[in-house]
C-alpha cells in the first residue's frame, strides 16, 4: 500500500476514447492565407470577419510561439494540421430529427443526450463536433426571455452587428500567438447574449468533441451579459485516443456590463495521451473576461483533468468600480501530462476584488504548475485580492510548482497569497482503511476533500459530475 500503488490507481483507461465513424469533409492539411479565406467562404461570412481573420493571420506570421511556460513538447508543425473538418451534412438542421443519428449517438454515449425526450431538463446544450455545431437545445425557450444561445457561426449570420461589436474586444486578434492563430482559423463555438435585466432561466452548456485525427479544434466562444443580466455557463470537452498529438487552441471572451454577472465553468477531459506520454491533446487556450461595468462579476471555475499539455490562464480585467473576479481551479495531472495553468486578475477600477483558489494534484511523472498574476493598477484604490494555491503530490515522481506574480502600483491595495503542498501519505491511507474504507475510496475521499472549495463553486448539476470524473481518474484495481 505504498504510494506507488496510489500511482497505479490514478492511471486509468480513458473512457471517451472512441471514434465515431462518420463521413467527414476535410480541407487539406496546412495553413496559408488561402486556407483562411477558404474557411471564411465555407461559412459564408461577412466581409468584416474575413478581414478580422486575415489581420490576425498576418500578425500570427510575425509572432513566435511562447516558451515561458514550464512545458516541454516537440515543435508543433502547423503545416501538418487540418484546420477545418466537419461531418458531411449540408447545413445545420432546423430539427434534431434530421441530425445524423450517429452524431446524436456519439453525444449520448458521452452522457449528453440531445433528443427532446432525454435531454437534461434544466440545461440548454450546444453540441460541437470537430469544427461545427450540430445542435443547440432549448433555443426557442431561451428566445422567449430574449436570451440568444447559438453557435458562433449562426450568430455571425443572424446577429452580425453584435458579433462585430464584441468579437476581439476582450482578446484582440494579436493578443498572443495562439489567440492570433485562433482568430485566423476559428471554426465554431458558442455565442451567448443575455439582454439587459435578464437572469438566464437555465444553465447553458457547450460540449466540445474532437473526432477526426490530425484535426485541430479552434473554437471561439463569446458571452455578453448586458446591464443587470446574469448567466451560468458550462463547457465540457472530450476527444478520441490517437497516438498523434492534436492541437486545441480556443479563445473565450466574456463581456460583463454594470451589475451583470457571468459564471463560467469548465470540465476539461480531453484525451491526455497514454501512460508513456504518447498522443493526447495540446490545449493552448486564451480565456479572458472583462468586467466593464460597475459592480459586475466574473467567476471562472475549472476542473482540468485531460490534455497532454494544458496552457490556460482564464483572466479577469476588473475595470468597473466594485467589480469582482473569481478563479476556482482543480487541475489533475497524471502519467506524463503537463499543466501550466492559473489566472490573471487585472485590477483597474476602484475597490475591485478578486479571489483565486487553485488546487493542483500531480501524480505519475506529471508536472503541474500554477502561474498567476495579480496586478493592481494605479487607480485601483482599495482593491483587494486573496489567493490560495494548494498542491497535492501523489507518488514521488510528480512535480508541482507555483509561480505567483504580483505587481502593484497602488499602495492602498491589499494582496494576500497563501500556498501549501501536501502528499497523500501511506499512514493516512492506512488510517482510513483500518476503519473499513476501501483503498480506492480512501484516495478518492482525500482528493475530493482537497478539492471541496472548488467543487462547491460548480453549478449543482455538475458538482457531482466533477467529483465522479476525478473518482473515475482514480478508479482501478487495488495493488
Amino acid at each position: 500500500m505504498s504510494t506507488a500503488t496510489v500511482s497505479d490507481l490514478v492511471s486509468q483507461p480513458y473512457k471517451h476514447g472512441f471514434v465515431t465513424d462518420i463521413e467527414t469533409e476535410k480541407i487539406p492539411k496546412g495553413l496559408s492565407e488561402d486556407v483562411v479565406r477558404l474557411i471564411s467562404s465555407k461559412k459564408d461570412e461577412p466581409e468584416f470577419l474575413l478581414r478580422f481573420r486575415l489581420r490576425a493571420y498576418r500578425q500570427w506570421l510575425q509572432m513566435a510561439e511562447p516558451d515561458w511556460a514550464a512545458l516541454g513538447h516537440p515543435r508543433i508543425d502547423y503545416q501538418n494540421i487540418i484546420y477545418y473538418a466537419a461531418p458531411k451534412q449540408q447545413e445545420k438542421k432546423a430539427s434534431l430529427d434530421e441530425v445524423d443519428p450517429k452524431l446524436l449517438e456519439t453525444f449520448e454515449k458521452l452522457g449528453i443526450p440531445l433528443s427532446e425526450q432525454k435531454r437534461l431538463s434544466n440545461v440548454a446544450v450546444d453540441a460541437v463536433f470537430d469544427s461545427v455545431s450540430i445542435a443547440t437545445t432549448y433555443r426557442e425557450k431561451l428566445a422567449e426571455h430574449g436570451v440568444i444561445f447559438c453557435s458562433i457561426s449562426e450568430a455571425v449570420k443572424d446577429y452580425p452587428e453584435l458579433v462585430e461589436k464584441y468579437l476581439g474586444s476582450v482578446v484582440p486578434g494579436n493578443d498572443n500567438y495562439f489567440a492570433a492563430l485562433n482568430s485566423a482559423v476559428f471554426s465554431d463555438g458558442s455565442f451567448v447574449f443575455i439582454p439587459k435585466g435578464v437572469e438566464c432561466p437555465m444553465e447553458l452548456s457547450t460540449y466540445f468533441r474532437i473526432n477526426s485525427a490530425d484535426t485541430g479544434q479552434f473554437e471561439r466562444t463569446l458571452i455578453v451579459a448586458e446591464e443587470g443580466a446574469s448567466v451560468s455557463y458550462l463547457e465540457g470537452c472530450t476527444a478520441p485516443m490517437f497516438d498523434t498529438n492534436q492541437l486545441h487552441a480556443a479563445v473565450v471572451e466574456l463581456v460583463v456590463l454594470d451589475d451583470a454577472s457571468i459564471k463560467y465553468s469548465t470540465v476539461q477531459n480531453w484525451y491526455a495521451g497514454d501512460e508513456n506520454g504518447v498522443g493526447g491533446i495540446y490545449n493552448f487556450v486564451t480565456k479572458r473576461g472583462q468586467c466593464r461595468g460597475d459592480r459586475s462579476r466574473i467567476s471562472w471555475t475549472q476542473v482540468e483533468t485531460g490534455s497532454a499539455i494544458t496552457w490556460k490562464y482564464p483572466s479577469c480585467v476588473l475595470q468597473g468600480a466594485d467589480s469582482v473576479g473569481e478563479f476556482y481551479s482543480v487541475a489533475l495531472t497524471n502519467n506524463h501530462q503537463q499543466a501550466d495553468t492559473g489566472t490573471k486578475m487585472i485590477h483597474v477600477g476602484a475597490r475591485t476584488r478578486s479571489t483565486i483558489v487553485s488546487k493542483g494534484i500531480s501524480a505519475g511523472h506529471s508536472s503541474n504548475s500554477y502561474r498567476g498574476l495579480v496586478q493592481m493598477g494605479a487607480k485601483a484604490i482599495g482593491a483587494k485580492n486573496y489567493s490560495q494555491c494548494d498542491s497535492m503530490l501523489i507518488g514521488d515522481q510528480a512535480a508541482a510548482n507555483t509561480y505567483p506574480y504580483i505587481r502593484s502600483q497602488q499602495p492602498d491595495a491589499v494582496v494576500e497569497h497563501e500556498a501549501s503542498t501536501c502528499r497523500i501519505s501511506a499512514d493516512q491511507l492506512f488510517y482510513l482503511q483500518s476503519r473499513g474504507i476501501g483503498f480506492e475510496e480512501a484516495v478518492s475521499m482525500m482528493v475530493s476533500g482537497f478539492c471541496r472549495d472548488v467543487f462547491n463553486q460548480l453549478p449543482m448539476e455538475f458538482a457531482a459530475e466533477a467529483d465522479k470524473l476525478l473518482a473515475l481518474k482514480l478508479e482501478g484495481s487495488v495493488g
Partner: protein, 257 residues
C-alpha cells in the same frame, strides 16, 4: 471476565514478523476469548506496537511465520479494510490527521462499511447523525468535532476521544488500543477509560497495549502479558502489572539475556 467456554475470538500462534530487514516479532502466542480484557505491557521496542499494527494490517510489517486466526478465519489474508469490517479495531497511538475529509462523513462511511458486512442496513445522513450524537456522549465530545476535518487540529486528548468514538460506532469484536493512554491528562484519561469500560461486554474483547500501570487502575484486565524482544515473556493476572510498577522492567532484561 474470564469464561473458559466463551468463544475464541483471536488466536495468535508462533507469530514472526519483520519491518524491512529487522525481525521484530519472534514467536508470539496469544489467545483471546469473548468477554476478556488483556493488557500487553513492555518497554519501547519490545514489539507490542508492531503486534497491534500487524493485526490491523499495516503494510510496513511482513509476517515471516506463524498464523493469526480471527474467529477461525485467517486474518492475515485480509486487506486492512476487510479486517475492520469483520470487527477488528485498532485505536491508534498517533491518530492521523486527514485535512479536507469531514469527520462526520468519515465516521458515516466507516460505520456503514461495518454495518453492510454485518448484514445491517446502511444509515443515511439523518439516521447516522442521531446515532453519532448518542455515542458522542460516551466520550463527552462536543458535536462541533463532527464538522471538522478528521483529527485536524485536534488536541492529543481530542484525538484519543475521537478514536473511542469510532470504536463506539464500529462496535468491534476485538478492539486493540495502542498506547491509548499516552499523552492524556488525568481527566481525558478517565473519559477514555470510562468509554472503553462501557464498550467492553461479554461478546467482545479488548487488547490494551500500554507500558504504564495507570490505565490499568481504571480498566481492570483479566490477563497481563509482558512482552520483551518480540515475545510474550510472562502472563499473569492484574497483579503482574502491579509487580511491574513496583519492580520495573529490569528483571525482564535479565530473563531475555
Amino acid at each position: 471476565m474470564i469464561r473458559p467456554d466463551a468463544p475464541l475470538l483471536l488466536e495468535i500462534r508462533d507469530l514472526h514478523a519483520r519491518v524491512e530487514d529487522q525481525p521484530i516479532l519472534k514467536g508470539v502466542n496469544l489467545s483471546v476469548r469473548a468477554g476478556e480484557i488483556h493488557a500487553v505491557m513492555g518497554r519501547n521496542g519490545s514489539g507490542k506496537s508492531t503486534l497491534s499494527k500487524l493485526l490491523a494490517g499495516h503494510p510496513a510489517y511482513s509476517v515471516t511465520g506463524g498464523s493469526v486466526l480471527f474467529r477461525g478465519q485467517d486474518l492475515l489474508a485480509l486487506q486492512p479494510e476487510q479486517r475492520a469490517r469483520i470487527g477488528v479495531f485498532l485505536g491508534f497511538q498517533y491518530p492521523v490527521e486527514i485535512p479536507g475529509v469531514s469527520n462526520l462523513e468519515f465516521l458515516r462511511v466507516a460505520t456503514n462499511a461495518r454495518r453492510v458486512e454485518r448484514g445491517d442496513e446502511e444509515l443515511d445522513t439523518f439516521a447516522f447523525e442521531d446515532l453519532v450524537r448518542e455515542r458522542l456522549k460516551l466520550v463527552q465530545m462536543d458535536p462541533a468535532f463532527l464538522e471538522r476535518s478528521v483529527n485536524e487540529g485536534f488536541s492529543g486528548g481530542e484525538k484519543k476521544r475521537n478514536e473511542i468514538l469510532q470504536m463506539a460506532l464500529l462496535e468491534p469484536l476485538v478492539a486493540i488500543l495502542d498506547e491509548t493512554d499516552s499523552g492524556l491528562d488525568i481527566d481525558a484519561l478517565r473519559i477514555v477509560a470510562g468509554g472503553v469500560c462501557q464498550l467492553a461486554g461479554p461478546d467482545n474483547a479488548t487488547l490494551l497495549i500500554t507500558h504504564y500501570q495507570r490505565l490499568l487502575d481504571l480498566i481492570t484486565p483479566d490477563y497481563v502479558h509482558v512482552m520483551a524482544a518480540g515475545r510474550i515473556l510472562r502472563t499473569g493476572g492484574k497483579e503482574l502489572a502491579v509487580e511491574l510498577e513496583r519492580s520495573g522492567y529490569d528483571w525482564v532484561d535479565q530473563e531475555v539475556a
